[in-house]
């Protein structure tokens, strides 16, 4: 993985020093809260319902075992023993003390971590396919480009005060695990007719108050032009994006109001001008330098046969069930990708205790070349596990309480912190997730239902990605009482779609029943081998709506 150079080290260390002084001045009364707030936000420090919250960046979701251990240490020493992995592949701490945050950041800087670009109207941390570099279906390793984008975007002077925050996601595979169509810019690696790799550039997607699926503005962008093109898109946005209305300031609104064709024309015009004047062509040498950081680890020559695995699958049904849900195809023969569910039945989605983080770090060290990934679905990944080691990994996870075999199933729920922690929330998300999880706890039933993505947000900001949940749940405040609006048919993948609202919102105590009803209608309607989404696309909203509101 990428290692900091001298420049990165200096930048992060200087940031800690600056913030230490800013905190000191705040506490000494030299800065008012109005003056201090933008400074703390630039360092990922929010003020939530009960305490400060620090959002730590995990750029493109890649972590080493060493870094994970440090995250566990931070949880223990500076927080209350746990952290929360988010849909932005980051980790949040819910209880840091203001005056301790500089020390906390210094400890993170020692392991090449920070909280830069986790807040504010800048280019946020780029997110990526959690299987980057190991996926069997990959065209090229997106981490290389994600790192280049990180270096280009960090403290970019021209783009530090954009109309609004700006999120870029990248995938190197045709199967989109990074939700690129619902980001400000989505980059999807493709090959052109000459078999050269490049990017399909998608702009203007997003969730929140006005959800939109992004539009392709460039069908094929050659790799060397990546940064010039990103500069062009950002320039058009920075100049024309609305600054008068917070709710209309994202690039999706600009694309929508300008029209895709005109927006594309403006970007191409800017691109042509920049290419003439100040081209930022990615030099091959620089590309190779960054690529060198992402060389595959020293894989053993394992061959296809995996007798230990075969025996375990044949004799241990609990392991087989976990394997079916958690293991994905690796590009290297004899290896597999393991997704670790952070969704125990009845648990808090995305939360991990310090001990759990350390257990994952141990397993990564022993079995996965010390590498870990964070997924936007709030799970963790061991990207490089030999198939012959899968049984041992499962036993290790079981011991740590991390072997819930529900990845991709109905209880693998995304939920934002909601009203239990978040200052912007209308309603709680976590208790709804917990109740649904408990209702569907039976594993056989979950496997029978098959792939089903439930996503819950506590307000319209949609951090819980409810718009693209197969079943989306949005918390709303109806005269001070928590209610939940349900959407169906959302999809965050390459076949992206926004969910359709089923009808009036349900009170909190009726939501799980409603989800149960939706699942019952699906099971009733599904034809052989159909996933939920396929059935929904075939039969539409009507049968679900009918059952959901029949008794009303």
């Amino acid at each position: 993985m990428y290692r900091y150079d001298e420049f990165d080290h200096t930048l992060v260390a200087e940031r800690v020093t600056q913030f230490r002084d800013q905190v000191r001045r705040r506490v000494a009364g030299e800065l008012t809260e109005d003056e201090f707030k933008p400074l703390r936000l630039m360092n990922g420090l929010y003020l939530q319902l009960h305490a400060y919250m620090l959002r730590v960046a995990v750029p493109y979701g890649v972590l080493s075992a060493h870094q994970m251990r440090r995250l566990a240490h931070v949880a223990r020493v500076y927080d209350k023993g746990y952290g929360h992995f988010t849909t932005r592949q980051n980790i949040q701490y819910n209880w840091p003390k203001l005056e301790e945050v500089p020390d906390l950041l210094e400890e993170l800087a020692e392991v090449e971590m920070h909280a830069i670009q986790t807040s504010g109207n800048c280019i946020r941390n780029v997110t990526a396919d959690q299987f980057a570099g190991v996926a069997a279906d990959e065209i090229d390793d997106p981490r290389v480009y994600a790192e280049i984008i990180r270096q280009w975007s960090t403290l970019h002077p021209e783009f530090s005060f954009l109309p609004r925050k700006f999120k870029i996601a990248i995938t190197g595979a045709p199967n989109d695990r990074a939700a690129v169509k619902v980001h400000d810019i989505g980059l999807r690696m493709i090959r052109n007719e000459a078999d050269e790799p490049g990017f399909e550039v998608i702009v203007g997607g997003g969730q929140g108050r006005t959800p939109m699926i992004g539009h392709v503005v460039r069908g094929f962008l050659p790799v060397p032009d990546l940064l010039t093109y990103l500069d062009s898109v950002l320039r058009v946005y920075n100049q024309l994006g609305r600054r008068d209305n917070l709710y209309k300031a994202r690039i999706k609104i600009l694309v929508h109001e300008t029209g895709v064709d005109e927006f594309t024309r403006l970007v191409e015009e800017e691109f042509a001008a920049m290419t003439r004047e100040t081209p930022q062509v990615l030099p091959g040498g620089e590309l190779a330098r960054i690529r060198a950081y992402f060389q595959p680890p020293a894989y053993r020559d394992l061959g296809k046969a995996a007798p230990t695995l075969d025996l375990a699958l044949a004799t241990d049904s609990a392991f087989a069930q976990w394997h079916a849900a958690s293991v994905s195809a690796h590009k290297q023969t004899g290896y597999a990708i393991v997704t670790i569910s952070l969704k125990p039945i009845g648990g808090i989605p995305g939360d991990a205790s310090a001990a759990e983080m350390e257990a994952v770090a141990d397993l990564a060290e022993t079995f996965s070349f010390s590498e870990i990934r964070v997924t936007h679905e709030q799970n963790l990944v061991l990207p490089d596990v030999a198939k012959e080691d899968l049984y041992a990994v499962w036993q290790g996870l079981k011991e740590a309480g991390l072997a819930t075999p529900n990845v991709g199933l109905v209880t693998d729920i995304i939920a934002c912190p909601g009203l239990d922690y978040c200052n912007l929330a209308n309603a709680r998300s976590i208790p709804i997730a917990q109740e649904i999880s408990e209702r569907f706890a039976d594993l056989d039933r979950q496997h029978d239902i098959g792939e089903l993505k439930v996503k819950i947000s506590g307000c319209i900001n949609a951090c819980g990605h409810h718009h693209v949940g197969h079943i989306g749940i949005l918390g709303v405040d109806k005269k001070g009482v928590e209610h939940y609006q349900i959407t169906l048919g959302g999809d965050a993948t390459e076949t992206a779609a926004l969910g359709d609202i089923v009808g009036p919102a349900f009170s909190g105590d009726k939501v799980t029943d409603a989800v149960d009803t939706v699942v019952a209608v699906y099971l009733d309607q599904r034809q052989d081998g159909e996933r939920f989404l396929e059935t929904y696309r075939r039969v539409g909203l009507a049968p679900f709506k009918e059952k959901l509101y029949a008794a009303r």
Partner: protein, 108 residues
């Protein structure tokens, strides 16, 4: 008749506090100074001093009512602020009842 108190977050750790008599701040809703009939201006004026003294951040007015076990914030958001995350009863103010963390009376 409506009743209101002023709440804020403590500067040092963000803990939820309420304005108490004589411009003190308390972690305990029961000890808060109550304004009747929306007469909240004097309370906010008093709260401003907390800002000057760098004790608290962003004070604002909330509605409260009498509950069976004492005073209660009217809105669910404020009820959760007054107790802690409903999904982690071992954290936040409510934890005081189980003796895990700080008491209701947060020292300033």
């Amino acid at each position: 008749m409506t009743a209101s108190v002023v709440t804020a977050n403590r500067l040092g750790d963000g803990a939820v506090v309420y304005l108490a008599p004589e411009g003190r701040w308390t972690g305990c809703l029961d000890a808060a100074l109550v304004a009747q009939d929306d007469a909240t201006e004097p309370l906010m004026a008093m709260a401003e001093r907390g800002l000057v003294d760098r004790l608290v951040v962003t004070p604002y007015v909330i509605a409260v009512e009498d509950g069976p076990d004492g005073r209660l914030a009217s809105h669910i958001k404020e009820r959760i602020r007054a107790t802690g995350p409903t999904v982690r009863l071992d954290l936040g103010k409510q934890a005081a009842q189980t003796g895990v963390t700080e008491s209701c009376h947060v020292p300033l």
